[in-house]
């Protein structure tokens, strides 16, 4: 009889983490999984920076008087918070980390179609990031993340050119990621992996990539024009020459509205995978969820001027865009209904990823519904440029996208690292995030509705708003704790966490049919798919359950 080892040691098989060591094996890698980790480190860094600016904003708003920073500085704070969070955290987050890691695995491929372009994407992101950090350290930018002309082109005294170029470069990174995903999903699927067998995570990333490809170039040219106007005096938006600042807004929002779908669609993909796994059920209405992702991508391009209702567009344009904005909510609602129907009569497990998914469902719904309030012209005139809008988009981007990101990180952490995170701490963190989030942002709905404008550092003429602001800042502190916890225990788990089996969740999907962590080329043999997606009935069948190793 062999000796039973009391404490099982992790089997040191060759995988993508230990295949090669050394800094250059990481900086020159073309392995999509390593690139995903490079992105993970980078976007976490920018999350801290964006969070730091958020902290300063909330500290300033503790008191009605503008006493922590000056007005100009405050303008820089919210501008850089927005730029960093949108372009250097949210847009890349799920696609560049989870997408890069999982897309090839989920379709049974060895890598993305263009591994070297994938690495180039990361380097472009880093170059843009370095430019942005340099910009912040040498004066910053105060135009808002929206760079509106003619302030950005003619009147701002801050580093608009550098910030614009930094975002341009990061945008190019985003375009190349989208290009890689589209070609990969079309060309590199394993035998038997038909479109209708793809995980909905893949459909979500495909839709996201369409938006990245078709929208980001318009942002690029718009920023180019701003830089050209500022640096070379080529006046396109200059009112003195007869230029139209509203044209800037049209071009800017043509990208920046679809951009919000870049930020939410991947999270929706994550949530779909989590809900299916932790309800032990195939997603209800697979085709509807798949096509609604594409519909969101397409419809998302039709609604941009709802950011411009009070900017000076024509009434007829405003009406058209308002109607279209109602239409774009439909595919998102379809998803919510399908997720809910999946939960119905499912076998619900309350692991941490599922807690994030539940949080997403509630918070995204609130965010989405308040978006409809804003799509109504009459309401928008009242609440635009107030904290109502701020609360709306934070519900979607933080309550939605960030919770999706965290849920996905937890769900796939065993696969990525080969370790299990501590479940108790993870559930606690999810709860803290949920409470902190609502405490931070729900008061902002009330503040906005009562008339507190956004981007104001001083509200001393409205001192009655202080109570809600203090609540919001308190919530932000709690939220910060909730975000720090996973960073701590994920790092802890890399050394001390229990080793993970191939499929600790007994989840469906090709990525769970290889080792944790996976080998460099993902599969020992190219998979041949003969089953439908979300085959949870098979996975949970008694005979099958015995063969599948349970979480270590």
């Amino acid at each position: 009889m062999s000796m039973e080892i009391a404490i099982p040691q992790p089997v040191e098989r060759e995988n993508y983490l230990n295949k090669e060591y050394g800094v250059w094996s990481w900086l020159l890698t073309t392995d999509h999984k390593r690139i995903a980790l490079l992105y993970l480190i980078s976007i976490t860094f920018f999350f801290f920076i964006g969070g730091f600016f958020a902290l300063l904003i909330r500290l300033e708003l503790l008191t009605p008087a503008g006493d922590l920073v000056q007005a100009d500085t405050y303008n820089k704070l919210f501008s850089m918070h927005g730029i960093v969070m949108v372009f250097f955290f949210l847009v890349p987050s799920i696609p560049a980390v989870l997408g890069n890691f999982l897309v090839p695995m989920m379709i049974g491929a060895k890598d993305l179609a263009f591994p070297r372009i994938n690495l180039l994407s990361w380097y472009l992101y880093i170059i843009g990031g370095v430019m942005m950090v340099h910009c912040m350290l040498t004066g910053g930018v105060d135009t808002g993340w929206t760079f509106y002309a003619p302030f950005s082109t003619n009147f701002s005294n801050t580093k608009v050119v550098e910030a614009g170029l930094a975002v341009f470069v990061a945008g190019f990174s985003s375009i190349l990621t989208g290009l890689n995903f589209v070609v990969t999903i079309h060309r590199m699927r394993a035998p038997g992996m038909t479109w209708s067998r793809l995980p909905l995570f893949i459909w979500a990333h495909y839709a996201t990539s369409i938006i990245q490809l078709l929208g980001t170039p318009v942002l690029a040219i718009t920023l180019t024009l701003v830089v050209a106007e500022r640096a070379l005096h080529l006046g396109i938006f200059d009112p003195k020459l007869g230029g139209d600042p509203v044209l800037f807004q049209h071009l800017f929002w043509f990208y920046s509205h679809p951009a919000v779908y870049i930020m939410i669609l991947p999270a929706m993909g994550v949530i779909t995978e989590i809900i299916a796994c932790f309800s032990r059920k195939r997603i209800f209405g697979y085709s509807f969820v798949a096509f609604s992702s594409i519909a969101i991508a397409v419809f998302g391009f039709l609604v941009w001027a709802h950011h411009m209702f009070v900017a000076g567009t024509s009434v007829y344009a405003a009406l058209v865009f308002s109607l279209l904005s109602y239409a774009v909510a439909v595919p998102s609602a379809i998803k919510v209904f399908n997720w809910t129907a999946t939960l119905y009569k499912g076998s619900i497990h309350y692991d941490a990823p599922m807690l994030y998914a539940f949080g997403f469902l509630g918070l995204f719904t609130i965010g989405g519904l308040t978006g409809l309030f804003l799509a109504a012209l009459g309401i928008d005139v009242h609440v635009t440029d107030t904290y109502f809008v701020v609360a709306h988009f934070h519900y979607i981007m933080v309550g939605g996208a960030v919770m999706g990101y965290l849920g996905g990180m937890h769900f796939w952490w065993p696969k990525i690292s080969g370790r299990l995170y501590p479940e108790g701490w993870a559930r606690l963190a999810a709860l803290i995030v949920f409470i902190g989030f609502n405490l931070t942002f729900f008061p902002q709905f009330l503040l906005g509705y009562m008339g507190m404008p956004r981007r104001y550092y001083d509200y001393s003429h409205m001192p009655e708003f202080q109570v809600l602001n203090v609540l919001s800042t308190a919530g932000a502190t709690v939220l910060g704790v909730g975000y720090l916890l996973p960073m701590v225990y994920f790092l802890w788990s890399m050394r001390y966490g229990k080793p993970a089996s191939d499929n600790p969740w007994n989840a469906a999907g090709l990525e769970w049919m290889t080792t944790s962590p996976p080998p460099t080329f993902n599969f020992d043999e190219e998979p041949v798919v003969t089953w439908e997606a979300y085959n949870y009935e098979e996975l949970d069948a008694p005979s099958h359950a015995q063969e599948v190793p349970v979480a270590g």
Partner: protein, 103 residues
């Protein structure tokens, strides 16, 4: 792409004939554009110029870029998608400018 090389191997001179024909057509189109610009067609000058340009662009895309003989629909779908979103950008933006009563 395999189907592409198959179609051009049917007769090695036929793609060449097409290419030279398209080339001549493009040059004629350019000349026509210039000539038409010197005529007074009122509001149709722009339409004619852009119409000829679109015809030229179509020839380049279909025959020089091999979209006509593309072995799968995906290539054509990418082209159509790009044009669709471009028209969306132009059209919906114009919907604002065309309906402003003050300018």
């Amino acid at each position: 792409m395999s189907a592409h090389s198959t179609s051009s191997l049917h007769s090695s001179s036929s793609p060449l004939k097409t290419y030279f024909a398209v080339w001549i057509a493009l040059l004629i189109g350019t000349g026509l554009t210039v000539y038409a610009a010197t005529l007074d067609l009122g509001r149709f000058n722009a339409a004619v110029a852009l119409g000829i340009a679109t015809a030229k662009a179509t020839l380049v895309a279909l025959f020089f870029m091999h979209v006509y003989h593309a072995s799968e629909k995906l290539t054509k779908l990418v082209v159509i998608a790009a044009l669709f979103f471009l028209l969306l950008l132009l059209g919906l933006t114009m919907s604002d400018y065309a309906t402003r009563p003050w300018s």
